[in-house]
């Protein structure tokens, strides 16, 4: 599974969660954007969406672009936000460097922390 991306979607207390595993780059990003599209169709009113980067070993501007576009979309659709969880220090650094942190997403250490912040709305 080198150089590839596995995407799976689940649901916790009605919050859609995308679990990603592998590398997000110019070759694999369509898998992520397709799953975002799917979620926005299935949960058009969701105020929250969690992306689990715990098993993502690599991400670059292409992957960040997809996530930022998703965050923009959830903001337009429902004034919602994307929560990123389990990002490694290297991936956190990439988010910092991008200067996109002001956009509609939040970074949390893990799923439980993210859920506890989200819960009041969910």
């Amino acid at each position: 599974m080198v150089l590839d991306l596995n995407v799976s979607i689940r649901d916790r207390s009605n919050i859609p969660i995308i679990d990603l595993e592998g590398e997000i780059d110019v070759y694999t990003y369509p898998k992520l954007s397709d799953s975002l599209k799917l979620i926005f169709e299935k949960y058009p009113d969701t105020k929250d969406l969690i992306i689990n980067l715990g098993n993502v070993r690599y991400i670059d501007s292409t992957g960040l672009g997809v996530i930022a576009n998703g965050a923009n979309q959830i903001a337009r659709l429902s004034s919602g936000v994307i929560s990123i969880i389990n990002a490694t220090p290297q991936i956190r650094k990439i988010f910092d460097v991008s200067g996109l942190m002001s956009t509609n997403f939040a970074l949390y250490d893990n799923e439980d922390t993210a859920m506890s912040r989200i819960q009041p709305q969910g």
């Binding site: 670059d60 501007s61 460097v97 996109l100």
Partner: protein
Amino acid sequence: MTQSIQITLTIPSLSDYVGVARLTASGIASRMKFTHEDIEDIKIAVSEACTNAVQYAYGDSLGDITLVFTILESALEVRVKDQGKGFESSVPIDSQAALNDPDKIGLGLGIVFMRSLMDHVEYISTPESGTNVLLVKNLTSRTDIN
């Protein structure tokens, strides 16, 4: 007579092979004993340069992307070249504005990442002879700020 060590990789301008370029880069960087963090930086910068060549250089046709890795005593130099259409490298992109433009593929982050993660970046792009990106990472001194 000291010869500087060079490794050359040529891939087609398809997104499929950007990861191969990244792997090759990470192999060279590990061999040079870069830190884990530096290796990640190099992988991203090399991928960004290749991704741009894949997305912008040749339009819908196929061309080559050539990576020349030069192993210096205290730095790794990577040149990423295409013979594509080139561009005016002087116009910076506003990422936040691009994010609100649904027609824009990228957010102008590629060049930002290269500049942030490497110690030195040079972009030579001309409409006649394509684009030539020089990425340099120093071995001893680490800088995350460019």
